[in-house]
Symmetry: C2
């Protein structure tokens, strides 16, 4: 992200630096204070000259945990497309993954990151938080925010029901924790995993 000094920003827009200062104080433009000086994100320049309506650009993200739930993936995507259409959003891409929400290195999600880091979109639109990630939603939310990107959760209450996925994720977590606690080839580890499995299925 390029950060502009007030002088340069003013010159680029053909206004007086004092005008820019006033805009900052009036919060008409975003600026950060670095040491004693203000810096203005390049995206503010783009916004003001009306180049690229990033404001309106969104990326859709959907996920299911396994191949046999592909139909639900389709449902999520259609639902979100309709939603974005109603809102008048410009959908620049639809990204999907068939993977666990515990997987932190998903192909589709990585592409979402690229859109965000390169400031190509202003929103990521999802059905529920757990589609984006099982853990770390607040991290993502905060760090996306640093790129002026918001996560729009369309359907946070109702959600798409995923009890089977929850059980699978929990077993994955228990397996990993038990390995770290008791060693990966221990009997105790096996007993804990089997125990949890039967508790959940009973």
């Amino acid at each position: 992200m390029e950060m502009l000094r007030i002088g340069r920003f003013a010159k680029m827009l053909g206004v007086h630096p004092l005008t820019v200062r006033r805009w900052i104080y009036d919060k008409r433009i975003k600026a950060v204070k670095i040491g004693k000086e203000y810096r203005i994100p390049y995206s503010e320049y783009l916004r003001l000259v009306g180049e690229s309506d990033v404001e309106n650009r969104v990326v859709i993200y959907a996920r299911v945990s396994s191949k046999d739930r592909e139909k639900d993936l389709h449902t999520q995507v259609e639902y979100l497309k309709r939603y974005c259409n109603e809102k008048g959003y410009d959908v620049v891409d639809v990204l999907t993954d068939i993977a666990s929400g515990l997987n932190e290195n998903r192909e589709g999600l990585n592409k979402v990151f690229e859109y965000i880091i390169n400031r190509k979109v202003s929103r990521v639109v999802i059905t529920t938080e757990d589609r984006l990630t099982r853990f770390g939603f607040k991290y993502l939310s905060k760090l996306f925010g640093a790129f002026d990107v918001e996560i729009e959760v369309v359907d946070s209450k109702k959600g798409f029901k995923t009890p089977q996925e929850l059980v699978e994720d929990l077993i994955t977590i228990v397996t990993s924790f038990a390995g770290r606690l008791y060693g990966f080839r221990s009997h105790k580890r096996k007993r804990v995993i089997e125990g949890v499995r039967s508790l959940l299925s009973s």
Copy 2:
């Protein structure tokens, strides 16, 4: 990390591109050759405009999960201070939390985020990955990278032993998952949590 072309870098600093080339040849600024062209890291820009030596600035982060392990917090901090001292790092702040690694809204960690987003540091120094977060390490690593910040894990192999903390985190996770699966006031939920508790303690 953002890499700048010579032309852009020159413009950002208000100097002639030939001047920038001379600086590169004189090794006054760092540059990498990509194909036939030079690219200059954004951090060099910050360094020249007097954001001073961000390159060398680091923030230390340490965490324990509960008050009774405060002594270990002290151990982590001292260990990391010594390490940074040996490396010649400029430690701009030492941030700590007494909280679970599952907690995504920790005061100390939030301050780390601020340092990163405002490009005040080039590294976050920690003892082990799980001090920073129980889940989502790869997300943080990737998104910090977009701000040219690296996570330096000093002691990833040995680690500070935290079996009790692992057990507590696992119980927290099981409690949350069971609530979502069976309803927060159900008997089944209670039975699963108790079951896991006894499996882990036996």
